[in-house]
Symmetry: C2
Subunit: 274 residues, 2 copies
Amino acid sequence: MTEIVDATRAAYFVSDSTGVTAETLGNALLANFPGFRFLKHTIPFVDTDAEARAVVASIDKDAAAGREPLLFITVKQAALRSILGASEATVIDLLAGHLTELEQALGVTASEQLGAYHGLGDTDRYFARMRAVEYAIEHDDGQSSRALDQADVVLIAPSRCGKTPTTMYLALQHGLRVANYPLTDDDFPTEGLPRSVAKYGARCFGLTTTPLRLSQVRHERRPSSRYSSLEQCTIELRRAEDLYRRNRVPFLNSSTKSVEEMSAVIMQTMKLRA
Amino acid sequence: MTEIVDATRAAYFVSDSTGVTAETLGNALLANFPGFRFLKHTIPFVDTDAEARAVVASIDKDAAAGREPLLFITVKQAALRSILGASEATVIDLLAGHLTELEQALGVTASEQLGAYHGLGDTDRYFARMRAVEYAIEHDDGQSSRALDQADVVLIAPSRCGKTPTTMYLALQHGLRVANYPLTDDDFPTEGLPRSVAKYGARCFGLTTTPLRLSQVRHERRPSSRYSSLEQCTIELRRAEDLYRRNRVPFLNSSTKSVEEMSAVIMQTMKLRA
């Protein structure tokens, strides 16, 4: 049972870089305390004394207002950490402790350059991700089959089952080349996969959802149409799932999974992890 | 100076959920040890004893091969953590210690449900992100101005300055509605912003890059064309930057910044943080 505390606390995610790490891990940690409301502030690029002091001023205002602040930091310079540490917040240092553990395990001291994991970093990998986004846009919704032979994954599903967001996530976060192809009524007279993707059957991954959810989502786009009717959605999903099974295309249900979860399953199933 | 150690170490990112947190923070930490090569393995959805034992077997193989494994974990069940802890790896627990710190600060124990920050979680926020991706696709590259009035940001830039990946990142990660509009030769005879976006000047943000970088990127698409010539790229970028300055459109240079960094700057500049 969730303990209902019904208190509002300020939560700061402060970073000398983008704040992506502080925000990601900080939120993951806070998700374990559902009884609280958190007033969240992400403050990236804090890399001077003056900026650190401005953050402290803001935190101390929250403290004075009774919002007992939590401060999650990913800040490499010890001088800045010590300014932030003098605030009226409970400091959760997401890097320093683990860096010390790693220094001991590896037997060297951590590099003193500013951490920039979310910077350009490994530029080859970075540009591969950017090209993957271009690839995904070009091959979204069956629009092009120009470079379908280069796809790492071909996502197939009826319209509005979550193909596009999943495609974009795999491209942007993991640099995978993902094409997606909509299954329409025209694709179902035959037993096999649609002609344009049949050659790439081993790279196909299917999505499905529940008829009710699909009908709701389609209704937002075309209210009270055949396209969004529960009957039509039920038929399309049943046909799609039959198609996946007949052709041994792995598939999953997008109604209960986030794009992050679907992407993790897809990479695991298609053995696309390094 | 970077200490060159030239040793290969195995690094495991193991999670009972998607592995996004373990991978993000684990990589951020490892980025501080540039002298090592890390052989990385991400293993999501480890939520049974048997799966944890399979991970241990794989780790111990790496250990036997002299790759002294590091093991980053985000696993909530103590029983699974203890199985993983018995491996031959140095364990960096990314959650447990911080959860204890938070329990002390908040005066309650953490919820025992499996952490699923990257699950559907807050479904309103999740569906807003998914709708933002659809919005971004519809309004990519000036293709539509249907719902331009609903844009949180309108990114403007000459072709191939990084509009699309930045747009997708802001949509997917932050649920922002971002339209993007290419600046072409036709947009420069006048002093003001292009007609389609002029009404939304206060929401415009510009991108630029270096002529050399732009020419290289365009060359990949259309080799040896006027479009990709250094001369044309120089002219277009100078005109774009003039346009931004004249119209007080904030802008930044995408040649030295990642999409994560640009997104953080854009949200900060446009005051789009919660």
